[in-house]
Amino acid sequence: MIHGLVQLAYIVATGLFVFALHWMNTPATARRGVFAGVGGMALAIAATWAQPEVVHHLWIILALAAGVAVGVPLSRVPLTAVPQRTALSHAFGGLAAGLVGTAKYYLWLGEGPENLTVFRMIAIIVEIILGFLTFTGSLMAAGKLQEVKWVPQRPVTYPLQNVTNLALLGIAVVVGVALVLSPTAAWAPAVFPVIIVLALAFGVLLIIPIGGADMPTVIAILNAYAGLSAVAMGFVLDNKLLITAGALDGSSGLILAVIMCKAMNRSFANVLFGAFGQVQQAKASGEEKVYKSESIEGAGQVLEQASQVVIIPGYGMAVAQAQHKVRELYDQLKKRGIGVKFAIHPVAGRMPGHMNVLLAEADIPYTDLVEMDEINADMPQTDVALVVGANDVVNPAARTEKTSPIYGMPIIDADKARTVFAIKRSKNPGFAGIDNELYFSDKTWMLFGDAKNVIGDLVKQLSGGSGLH
């Protein structure tokens, strides 16, 4: 009886999860999706807890309470820190999968070796390898994003890196196969932790060579891994709700990773094993080129004369926390009847959709946030393209320079606008370390300084000259 009710609850929960994701197809219904998700989750927890085999309640209550205590503050981080929060939650997901897999293995080893069938063992091995590598990999990614001191920001590479990494994974797989074949051998309980250690190490080594510009893809891939480890857990526990929910998460990570890869014209393998950081140094030298810089007054006048302005935000906007100032500028321009749109490159920022969230936080209507493919058609009719802390996503070298590491990457055609203003912190190249031809173009004027201050000054300039006192 109770078993049937539990299964029924699981089916309803599955349906609610599918609806939760379905409602994310437009911002108008998206919040309903959250309620559906919470409902499904509450139902699943209640149904599981109600099962007769759950007899110790204190530990459950304590663990749930601790989860709430940590989860609530984690949900209140500033939106610029959302990428690292996301990476951290992938780490937690991986950890949970790894630990449950480990617990189940030792449990069955002691109390029911007949449960350790070949299939279950495969599922357990996959679960712990994926789980633990996601755990450390995501922690590394979170550390890089948070710019934690002892985590190297720049890609770290060394000779035979890929060979070493793959060898490590290979050893883990070989040990795993041995365990699948003889899960109850005398050496098995001692060898099992070896796989855990190898997976933990592999996770670290996998992320160390990856640079900030590749983070959106890497976060998406780790998302897929976290989902797949939940699927593996579902196989281990023979729980179809886990399999379904994990598959939804896994396919989400996969789709996002594919979108990110396409937006950079690179393959998965290239992102994971390409060590973006290596290629760039080769191109650092070259002839001296001159930037033309413009004063705030001059830029303000040009903006006032424009009828169509496109703002192209990048990670620099997030770093400078400039989104609220951008909003003020948006208001000033709109007040003059100037059309203002935002051009959003899929990999702008450090995670998929990062720019959209920051601009939405600043109360900019999402109807003015335009995807790259759509906005590019309008760029030739645009009077001013204002680049705020973006670099590689507007670099024309992606179109022309065959030797450039970003060659072939689709970009926002800022250079097709009549005038380009680029706000830049310093004269150093961007994250990918590549010189940007756009900045030396005849129609480009640089506004050097912190994005927040520069835009703040622009707003002052515009509001001062507008006749409103």
Binding site: A20, L21, M24, A30, V34, G37, M41, A44, I45, W49, V54, H56, W59, I60, A63, A66, G67, V68, V70, G71, V72, L74, S75, R76, V82, T86, S89, L95, A96, L99, V100, A103, E114, T117, A220, A230, N239, L242, I243, T244, A245, L248, D249, S252, L256, I259, K335, G337, P346, M351, G353, H354, N356, V357, A360, E361, D363, P365, Y366, E371
Partner: protein
Amino acid sequence: MTPIEAAAAAPAADFWGQLYVFVLASFIGLGVIRRVSRLLHTPLMSITNAISAIAVVGSIIVTGADYPRPIRVLGAIALFASMTNIVSGFLITDRMLKMFKTDTRPGEGGRS
């Protein structure tokens, strides 16, 4: 069929059922998520994160059943990690989604 044979056959039957569910769920996932607005990719990631914390279900059993203490400790840590993801995942998703508006605040901007 001896009990041993039955024990050996049962998981094999499960295996195909589970694989079936996995493949179908993946197709549903791909179909649904392809339609998600690109504006919402960050909230999408946080909500799928919360949903995949359904690992909480496995963790509750491992923590609460009459298993040896070390096993239950592992379960409790997993339960804590999953619950953290559920709480922070859903809360931050909602917080972000609340910010997506078509219109700006009334009385500001003075747009015509």
